[in-house]
């Protein structure tokens, strides 16, 4: 868990990152409080108690099957966790064409929350600045 240098926000971030760590690197650069979902299938599904924005990579390249990482699906299958999601941000790669950031669209549609943003790989400095500012303002609007 990362510590937050700014004033407490009304919500938090929940994210998944595979061993490649791309999404993890992006979240680190945001410098906002964030909870990482466990990679291993055998780890217990975490419970979240505050509203959150989900950041998820897209398993790229194919169709909709397998686009959303398993740990994200398991986390959202928990009704309590699902009720607290307010938005989703997706990582991906435009090389995957139609499927760019597809995990974000799927989660947005299934949970009926907005897809807030998409970025590629580790995200650029511009992506980091936009998401940091956007998430802060998003929570202000929610309160």
């Amino acid at each position: 868990m990362l510590t937050d240098a700014h004033a407490p926000l009304a919500g938090t971030l929940v994210y998944f990152s595979t061993r490649s760590g791309n999404t993890h690197r992006f979240v680190e650069k945001l410098g906002l409080t964030a909870h990482r979902l466990p990679i291993n299938r055998n780890d217990p599904v975490p419970h979240i108690d505050t509203p959150y924005v989900l950041i998820t990579p897209t398993y790229g390249g194919g169709g909709t099957q397998g686009a959303v990482p398993g740990p994200v699906i398991r986390f959202l299958n928990d009704e309590h966790n699902r009720r607290l999601i307010r938005g989703v941000i997706a990582a991906g790669n435009t090389n995957f064409g139609e499927a760019y950031g597809l995990a974000g669209r799927i989660v947005a549609q299934k949970c009926q929350v907005p897809l807030l943003y998409r970025f590629e790989l580790l995200g650029t400095d511009d992506d980091v600045a936009r998401v940091r500012k956007g998430v802060e303002e998003f929570w202000k609007r929610q309160t």
């Binding site: 390249g61 194919g62 099957q65 790669n93 064409g97 139609e98 799927i106 929350v113």
Partner: protein, 323 residues
Amino acid sequence: MNTMQRLSRVDAVNWNRLQDDKDLEVWNRLTSNFWLPEKVPLSNDIQSWNTLTQQEKQLTIRVFTGLTLLDTIQGSIGAPTLMEDARTPHEEAVYTNIAFMESVHARSYSSIFSTLCTTRDVDDAFRWSEENPMLQAKSELILERYRADDPLMRKVASVFLESFLFYSGFYLPMYWSSHAKLTNTADLIRLIIRDEAVHGYYIGYKFQQALNEATPERQQAVKDYAYELLLELYDNEVRYTESLYDAVGLTEDVKKFLHYNANKALMNLGFEPLFPSSVTDVDPTIMAALSPSADENHDFFSGSGSSYVIGKAVATEDDDWAF
């Protein structure tokens, strides 16, 4: 000197005992993405091809010949070389897939040629490729690293080939597609672009694993060396791009595409992007040809959120969603 543990003997590969589950994840992704050029109805582009000027035809054939050379290098030398440095038997197997698919890519360009072009024009282009100094220079810059005894730099060169060097060429079919020309050819190129993304990601991931085990001094040296190689390749790509695209007035936008993809190549290696967003703003119609939804507004934060609608229904076939 060799920072990686090479596999010194061959054991039967057991996919039910993984040292790194990324190997299986990528194997599954690559095999489910398998395709052959016969699947794309290239002959539907014959009419469109005939609307191109002789100069545009020559440019297109030359671009595809240049791409063929890169795919040939990667299929016959690049991926097999990486196999020698593999850390797991599963990684070796993934490289066999990558090597084969690069050969499929190289073969695809010949399918495009035999469908659309005259033998003479194609022969001319292959002769051009053998004599073009920029094309030969990029090939040599990569091959030098493949031949040298530095497994980390072999992966760096490989990621630069997969994630950067192809893009001066990929630009053109995306451009034609955005003008409703050669759209079936563009569909085939999109399959190649998709494959190269997985290749760059995976080789970059294996690079980062190995780099993490190196001393801080060595890490810094490899990083410096990687940026140096990128800039060397970039200078050559700029010259190559000018020589091809000046005549059709596209050079400046192709350069933006180069910057954009150079950043992604660096990110695949775990390094920070180099080019600022002021020089990566590729023409939106090219981005839309690459990724049809890329031009949709998914920046809810930018204040234009009012125009935002929650995504269209996306059918998901994953059966583990419980709601």
